[in-house]
Symmetry: C2
């Protein structure tokens, strides 16, 4: 399989999804965003669903790459995690959170999407849980249930995403609330840059 072709198609899918939304996404619109024909796209992906699965896989890979922090200090790892969620990257389209919300809405009808969202959720909770557990062991944090802290943090991240879409609320509002929760629970909060 031509991986370069796949990569181009997935990048085009991202653009088409951001521009037209999930309901109006067609192979033709994806082709329009790339240098390939719809026939060439079909050569790589049988259906729109296969293509969107590959798109979500790529999204998870990329996100996991951003989550990987080499820091040995658990506090730095928690900050890196929050940065990966909340600090916008150049490559990220402004409309991307909307496309992600639409894909989440489809999960009840698409088991393959749901599997991928579950994988992403597990990974996010693991990162937080491990950092909290290590930080407690190292004496940086007050004692707490690491699994519970991870659930609260990730549930608030999910809520912040939905609030951004539904209410137009700035993501920083959620980050601030998460940090004040961490202070309450762990007796520690990331230093807020001036």
């Amino acid at each position: 399989m031509n991986t370069e072709g796949s990569a181009e198609i997935i990048a085009a899918t991202r653009r088409a999804l951001c521009e037209h939304g999930y309901a109006a996404l067609t192979m033709q619109r994806i082709a329009d965003e790339s240098s390939l024909s719809t026939a060439a796209i079909h050569y790589h992906f049988d259906t729109k669903r296969d293509l969107l699965n590959a798109f979500l896989d790529e999204l998870i890979d990329r996100f996991e790459g951003r989550l990987e922090s080499e820091a040995s200090d658990s506090r730095e790892r928690l900050v890196a995690f929050l940065d990966a969620i909340f600090v916008p990257t150049d490559e990220r389209d402004e409309d991307f959170p909307i496309a992600l919300m639409e894909l989440k809405s489809q999960a009840p009808h698409q088991d393959a999407y749901r599997d991928r969202f579950r994988q992403l959720d597990r990974r996010m909770r693991e990162v937080v849980e491990t950092a909290v557990r290590d930080g407690i062991a190292a004496g940086h944090f007050a004692d707490a249930d690491p699994d519970e802290v991870a659930r609260v943090v990730v549930t608030m991240i999910n809520g912040g995403h939905a609030r951004g879409i539904a209410l137009g609320e700035a993501p920083d509002e959620t980050r601030r609330v998460i940090e004040s929760y961490l202070e309450l629970q762990l007796g520690w909060a990331p230093e807020v840059p001036a």
Copy 2:
């Protein structure tokens, strides 16, 4: 305006939305769920958007009705609030949270939806904030910032909604996490029925 006709149309909209989803919602499908013709529906509502605005208004009214608790005890009011969010009602379609998630996804393109979601959010936060403030004054709760507590609780409710759709997670998981947060923050948790 024939209010009875409107009420029937709004109920039909809810059913059509749950059955077909937002993207596939048409005046014809709404008519199919009611005893009225599409012409009669157009007599009440010019566009699908007008109809969905009326649908969201009705949703907010109904939800506010469920939120109104006569209890003078702030703890009872918090429990009533969580029940209004988490206890399923007979009338509520199982697919309704999916339809709501789809409408949230549309908010960036539809100011009128966004206004309504903001109204709902303000109302939810007010109920929590007032109950927390009263409970602190009455000595039932430890001291806390009522606005902040309301933000955390409502953000977790938003997150729980998205988790139900994207991951298929049971809403009770979020309720449990909210209650453990309230215990940490206020030194009080609702009694969990056996």
